[in-house]
């Protein structure tokens, strides 16, 4: 096609240039037509050139947008991933704090805060189900003597060992915590008096039979227990008071023994 166009162009240029046709009306008409055609051609070329320019520009901009968009998406997903990791870290930290908030750091047993919460819960459960719980306060005998004779490290050792012995002598669902100082609280959920008595007697025997090793010494340890059964409908603080009074009686009767509330006068 190009070749034909070029030939046509050459032929017309030749005809228009030939002096033999000058003055001929067809030559003039051809000349006008030829000029008009080339003007149109120039215009057309300009239009298509401009259009091409626009297309190229638009494409370039689009590429830039896609690139920028991809980069932003990449950043967002990285930020989201890092954010998820931070959340995970906070969650774990929370769990650790929660764990720490209800454990006694020395013995690893539950602390007084958790014991109080569980006492409230168990009291409500007992009221609903009609099955009471047994509550016991256990106090190490002559703990002050251990501290005085062997130092506080020895005292701590005794507390830690006793905690381990207690846990080992109880059932899985029994709850044991450090109530304060050398005093422990034992909560036996859904348990009758006889069963509870048996568990606590076992605990006392275990403590008595396992002297605590401190350095090259063995320190014999005993404990006294006051035991009370939750009476349906009462406030747990009343149960606690009876256990405390029973413990006092056990101490007064000579220690290393278990006294229950029925022995309260």
């Amino acid at each position: 096609m190009r070749k034909d166009h070029a030939d046509l162009e050459a032929r017309i240029e030749a005809l228009l240039g030939d002096a033999a046709y000058s003055g001929h009306p067809l030559r003039e008409a051809l000349d006008s037509l030829w000029q008009y055609t080339s003007q149109q051609l120039t215009r057309l070329e300009r239009v298509s050139h401009v259009s091409d320019e626009f297309q190229a520009m638009a494409r370039e901009r689009e590429l830039g947008l896609i690139e920028r968009y991809d980069r932003q998406v990449g950043r967002m997903s990285r930020a989201a991933r890092i954010s998820d990791l931070y959340q995970k870290m906070l969650q774990d930290l929370n769990r650790t704090l929660r764990e720490a908030s209800y454990r006694d750091p020395l013995t690893g047993l539950f602390n007084r805060r958790l014991l109080m919460d569980r006492l409230k819960e168990e009291s409500l459960r007992a009221q609903r189900s009609g099955h009471g719980y047994v509550l016991a306060l256990l106090d190490l005998d002559d703990f002050k003597g251990v501290n005085d004779a062997h130092g506080h490290d020895a005292g701590d050792r005794v507390l830690v060992e006793t905690a381990g012995i207690m846990r080992g002598a109880m059932r899985d669902y029994d709850l044991c915590g450090r109530w304060g100082g050398e005093e422990f609280l034992v909560l036996l959920p859904d348990t009758r008096y006889a069963e509870g008595y048996e568990v606590l007697a076992r605990v006392l025997a275990a403590i008595r039979q396992h002297p605590v090793r401190y350095g090259d010494r063995f320190l014999s340890v005993t404990a006294s227990v006051g035991l009370a059964v939750y009476a349906n409908g009462e406030n747990y603080t009343d149960t606690l008071k009876r256990a405390d009074r029973a413990l006092y009686v056990a101490k007064r009767q000579g220690r290393d023994r278990l006294v229950d509330e029925s022995e309260l006068s």
């Binding site: 990285r78 931070y86 774990d92």
Partner: protein, 99 residues
């Protein structure tokens, strides 16, 4: 920079910081060392830190001396892992140091 970051308006807090880094890197020729001891960052703070690291990265590409020292408590390895995540795309010196 140190501590936790969960600002209500992140642009108010980080806007000036980012602008400062940008301007310092543009106008000055001295090195820039970032000392960080960051613990918790919320999502917008993470975005802001990424933006700052991007500025450092491009300055590093232009041959500018930039660097980050991110300190963490050796009892909290998780912070080091998070710092690693930030470090991933950075080619400039980025040290994660236990304290």
């Amino acid at each position: 920079m140190q501590g936790d970051s969960y600002p209500e308006n992140p642009f108010e807090l980080f806007g000036p910081v980012i602008r400062w880094v940008e301007e310092y890197l543009e106008r000055d020729t001295r090195p820039l060392a970032l000392e960080l001891e960051l613990l918790y960052l919320n999502t917008s703070s993470i975005r802001a830190m990424m933006e700052i690291f991007d500025l450092l990265e491009s300055a590093h590409g232009r041959g500018r001396a930039v660097g980050v020292n991110w300190y963490y408590d050796r009892n909290n390895e998780r912070v080091a892992e998070l710092a690693e995540e930030f470090k991933e795309d950075c080619t400039f010196p980025f040290a994660i140091l236990a304290r």
